[in-house]
Symmetry: D2
Subunit: 188 residues, 4 copies
């Protein structure tokens, strides 16, 4: 059994909807057990996090970087960092904002640096950028063109219902990829 945990913060529901898509993707890989954990409730879920083979971190990009609420969770892991308890777990990240870039790459850097401090091993997305040629469309997978993690564009004037199907599928692909890599990395 491969254990994948997803820790996320969502201010208005967009990131929660994407986190669920990541969960669906991970759960689609046979032999995977997935935990979906809100950052604000992580203190009740340390066991799931400590025993996970992979942890996927998700945050909106607010004012150009990781949401404060997510950052609070990250700071609460400092004891685990000190003892390097999460070393060699797989890690990945996703971020959501209204703009196509919206500085989501900066949030993904925050998450990747955090994971590196924990000596976790970072995997990004393995889908080439979409919507980058004259025949491309908003329905392409990875339409925002991020690599180090998933970057989702969600309209500012809509809730999760405004998120494109392509974005849900991109998030599912990340979940499936991380579950498969974690299984491979932990083969007995």
């Amino acid at each position: 059994m491969t254990k994948v945990a997803i820790v996320f913060h969502s201010g208005y529901g967009h990131t929660a909807a994407i986190a669920e898509a990541v969960q669906r993707g991970a759960a689609s890989v046979a032999g995977t057990e997935v935990s979906l954990i809100k950052a604000a409730e992580a203190s009740e879920h340390w066991e799931e996090l400590d025993s996970a083979d992979a942890i996927i971190f998700g945050s909106p990009t607010y004012m150009g970087s990781t949401a404060a609420e997510m950052k609070k969770f990250m700071e609460a892991t400092s004891g685990r960092w000190m003892h390097q308890q999460w070393a060699d777990k797989l890690a990945a990240g996703f971020s959501v904002s209204a703009s196509w870039s919206g500085d989501k790459l900066n949030t993904l850097f925050d998450l990747a640096v955090f994971a590196a401090q924990h000596s976790m091993i970072w995997a990004g997305l393995n889908i080439l950028p979409g919507f980058n040629h004259s025949k491309g469309s908003i329905d392409d997978l990875n339409r925002t063109g991020h690599a180090i993690g998933v970057g989702i564009q969600a309209n500012a004037d809509q809730g999760a219902e405004g998120i494109k199907e392509s974005d849900f599928k991109t998030a599912e692909a990340l979940g499936a990829r991380i579950a498969a890599l974690a299984a491979r990395f932990n083969k007995p």
Copy 2:
């Protein structure tokens, strides 16, 4: 007279077309003299660069960061860095790639860090992100949603003719902004 220099590299013409738009924008501000300099030819233009009030740096994003040819120019400034000859000049940046993000923010970080080593003062764009709500469109200014500089999306299967009018206007706005700020900063 305010002097603005633009130094750029362009592999396939997209970044050159955007550099010209930045030039048009800067030239539209009364009392501004603009130099457009190819990175590969910068060694013949040190005087224009040394006397500029502002320098705007432009590069495609290739494999996630600044183009090697642009980087060569940046390394050729190390003597000027050592003597801090460019200190307190204004600086700005733009990057072009096929994808919406395409990791252009990382290239803009390369350029901003470079300018900071020179003790230059960095100005980004002052246009809120476009195309980020349900009524938004590809014709919005700053449609990729970058802040620290201009990020342009140019289709991989088209030349400069495929660049959107909104992107040219966004680049012009950067040029005009930097020329105006340089004038203000150097008011006698």
Copy 3:
């Protein structure tokens, strides 16, 4: 009169001590009025922030990025961002952590991207890196060698009393630089 505001969070007193050094530096420039504001109390100081010519942001680097408490303040500025109320103010940043790098550059990127979203104009330090040759010492200014802002190394097992004199002087230099630049930029 040039108005400079410093907004910071400090968990254990190190960043507060550095913020005071930045304040001393700014106040040393004739005609400068300086406000020192704790991030957690910023909601009582919007007027000082809104009327400032320059705002200097300071945060510890916790787990590789900006402290959550500082990030809460940054998110509380989103209304001002929406209306671009802080456009064209000068901005700068400093970060403190126990390690020499300690990923402080990533925190400075968080702060610079934040300022860029506000269309603020970013100035870094103008002191070449110290302690980088065989005669260098821990007493050199800018001994950690950051450019885009000030990066301070403060021992993990000491309070503010463990901070090196060189670091206080580096922080003072940033304050003085920003006050002088703000005066120049706002010359009547």
Copy 4:
């Protein structure tokens, strides 16, 4: 047999000396074959790169980012990127500059983003930062305190003979870590 390749550029010999230390570390893991490849000569070594289980990238930090010569190599991989030939290989990075920070983190970001575009899986160092408390010393491993890769400080007025033993050991540790992770990840 696990295959590890190291691709690096070195302007003055410091990065070459560190690359050799990374090589020693990787070779110390039983069952590992290591190739040490100069970026400028990579075009003669595509087979070793294509067949490697892990590739470790090394570059000086010049003017705040990856050296142009290294960047040229990175751009030469764009065909492999297009076909995602390096997907799921392990990747890691190291950077060398005269200053303690010297913006090496920005170079490591360049390398990590590059690897992510190739869908490679990124591992950093697993050594807590040294020299960050009152009893710390310049002889501590990971004395510059980087996490996402190895950051080496080499005096500007000395050649490779000025590099500290602690830095060689830190580089060896990275090589050994990546070789061991690659073996684990590719267990039959």
